[in-house]
Amino acid sequence: MSDEAVREEDRQLVARAQAGDIEAFEALVEAHRDKVYGLALRMTRSEADAAEITQDTFLSAYQHLSEFRGDAAFGSWAYRIAANHALMRLRHRRVVEAAEEEIQGPAFTERGSLAEYPAQDWSRSAEGKVLDAELRRAIQEASDHLPEGYREVFLLKDVEGLSYEQIAEVTGDSVPAIKSRLHRARLALREAIDRFYNRGNEVG
């Protein structure tokens, strides 16, 4: 189904659910639960938290259904609620906030040239249908190792597909700050993938 068709179906389901049709609401839950759960699991890295966040998200979506206007997609509305819940949990967990470490980007020479050339352009081979299990693990590890503030922004933007404005709304950070952290996070992940593709060809 096209995105537009999905949105149209959601719109109809929302209208029926707003009129008290519980089955229509359940159909909405079914259509979006994987994405909501995935978001919560990636953000919190805890299956128990992710299950609870999913419950809280859909319950609060149901309770606020009458306030939901058709101008946004139900999905992105639900993901925003989920992102809020997940961030609240993360903030709560981080009672003693560790100083955020900086992410190192690529190395440059004094003249500002790339010090190490990528040994190969893997952007094409990355389009293959099946993702190598080792590459998957390397990416998961690299994402787990990102400093928390970077990881949040990267997940919300690049994995969950929220807009900069939506992320600013849920995190309370400015859009320029979000962009700068997203860029550093992408550099770190690119580096990890690059290491995977170039393992074995030690350069210099």
Binding site: L114, Q140, I193
Partner: protein, 79 residues
């Protein structure tokens, strides 16, 4: 003339298409003469999609069964 460092610092804005024309021109000029930066740009651009695939998750069956039970009880008790 932009260096590799300038170029890479600006990649996010460039790919978002949110860059003043003048800056984008300097950046393209650098790219046209710098193969390493072109490879860097391509791999940087491929990174989010790869990560999205690597981090995909599906809700386990028992979790979705519990979710539905939870919502049914809560919705019923509210109405």
């Amino acid at each position: 003339m932009y260096t590799c460092e300038d170029t890479i610092n600006l990649l996010l804005d460039y790919l978002d298409g949110e860059m003043p024309l003048e800056e984008a021109k300097h950046l393209k000029e650098h790219l046209s003469g710098c193969a390493p930066c072109i490879d860097f740009l391509r791999t940087y651009r491929a990174t989010p999609g790869l990560c999205r695939r690597a981090l995909a998750e599906k809700m386990p069956q028992e979790v979705s069964t519990k979710l539905m039970e939870f919502l049914r009880t809560r919705i019923k008790s509210a109405s």
